[in-house]
């Protein structure tokens, strides 16, 4: 009797078995592939990982060891009539060539405007 029932439901049980464990196997392989892809791309940025900063409230990425002068050039700004503050502290023009921007810096770039 018991054997008869088993025999009768075997196809359904087999399908269930494959679906259940098969899905595990699929995600396992897929995950490994993803990891391998990441590993494969990593060496390209090694040694010069981009840094995350905020410029005038907008998130931006910069190359490591970027000076203020370099950053202004990259942004296409004429340096003559701009003022720069990093983390709310003013950085004079004399220090633009030597000040290196660090990851997480909050940068403000200001220019003249009408005022009352």
């Amino acid at each position: 009797m018991k054997i008869a029932i088993l025999k009768r439901f075997f196809p359904a049980a087999a399908v269930g078995f494959f679906l259940f464990f098969g899905s595990f196997l699929f995600f396992f392989i897929h995950g490994k592939k993803k990891k391998m892809n990441k590993k494969h791309h990593k060496p390209k940025h090694q040694g010069k990982k981009m840094i995350q900063v905020s410029i005038n409230g907008e998130p931006k990425t910069l190359k490591p060891n970027t000076t203020i002068t370099k950053m202004l050039q990259t942004l296409g700004y004429d340096t003559a009539w701009l003022g720069v503050a990093i983390n709310t502290a003013f950085v004079s023009k004399a220090k633009h060539d030597t000040t290196i921007i660090k990851s997480g810096d909050q940068i403000e770039i200001l220019s003249p405007i009408a005022g009352g």
């Binding site: 701009l82 709310t88 403000e108 200001l110 009408a114 005022g115 009352g116």
Partner: protein, 269 residues
């Protein structure tokens, strides 16, 4: 000719000698050309400017600044938009380098609704800026005690408001403004903010204030250049009136025409 000399009397403020007692802002004009025309017509020798985040238009700041420089007058940068002493100090330092002046209109806002200055932050920033070599023009209320604290912090100029910025309400509290004038007879005092009409400027000058700083009153007038001319005249009129010394106010009428020899008059009884 003597009268002419009296109202074109030169005066000193922040280490500079000026002829005009009117300071004007550079904001809110219908166009840059109208701004230039209005500022020129006002005869002002001091114009206020500001700093803001560099926008999408990369040349806007430089273009504006070159327009201002063609006016050939003194620049008074402000710290508008700052809400703390720290922010104001940073903006002041940046302005000193960019605008090449040690003058700073110190403005630290404490309330968004009426743009009332924060006295605590203003005094703190004023002390630090005076120490750093700035000539501080502090925007303050008409509170006498705050005015005293600013002077204690080293300010050599005070700029009490007439009424809130851009309101055009004139002098909300002439009594307080008079008290500040009396407390500091030798300090240059400028009414900054709240002026809407030429008559307001006349009143402020009649109180003995040394100058007027305004922006909206001219920029938002139907004819900004014409209004600038009106304010130039008003400031001059008020100054002359103050120097001339007004008569004593009286409770009763008093005939101005001589009473001797009045015709048709007959002695009765």
């Amino acid at each position: 000719m003597m009268q002419k000399n009296r109202h074109t009397d030169s005066w000193q403020i922040g280490g500079k000698t000026l002829q005009s007692r009117l300071f004007v802002g550079s904001a809110l004009y219908p166009s840059p050309a109208i701004m230039q025309e209005a500022i020129r017509t006002s005869g002002a020798e001091v114009v206020t400017v500001s700093l803001r985040r560099q926008g999408v238009n990369k040349d806007a700041g430089e273009h504006f600044w070159s327009l201002i420089r063609t006016l050939g007058i003194h620049t008074l940068p402000n710290t508008a938009g700052c809400h703390s002493a720290k922010e104001a100090i940073t903006i002041a330092e940046m302005s000193r380098e960019l605008f090449e002046t040690h003058w700073i209109k110190l403005e630290v806002i404490g309330d968004q609704y009426n743009l009332q200055p924060d006295p605590y932050e203003t005094v703190e920033a004023a002390r630090a800026l005076v120490e750093a070599g700035f000539e501080v023009f502090p925007y303050t209320t008409d509170d006498l005690v705050v005015a005293k604290k600013l002077v204690d912090a080293g300010c050599r100029i005070l700029m009490p408001w007439g009424s809130p910025i851009g309101s055009g309400k004139g002098l909300a509290n002439p009594y307080n403004l008079k008290a500040i004038r009396e407390a500091f007879p030798d300090l240059p005092l400028i009414i900054d903010a709240g002026i809407g009409k030429p008559s307001h400027a006349v009143m402020a000058m009649e109180l003995g204030y040394d100058g007027i700083l305004l922006n909206s009153a001219v920029a938002l007038a139907q004819e900004p250049a014409m209004m600038a001319q009106a304010f130039a005249a008003a400031v001059e009129a008020g100054r002359l009136g103050y120097q001339a010394g007004a008569m004593q106010e009286r409770e009763f009428a008093s005939p101005s025409t001589p009473t001797i020899g009045v015709p048709f008059w007959q002695q009765k009884n």
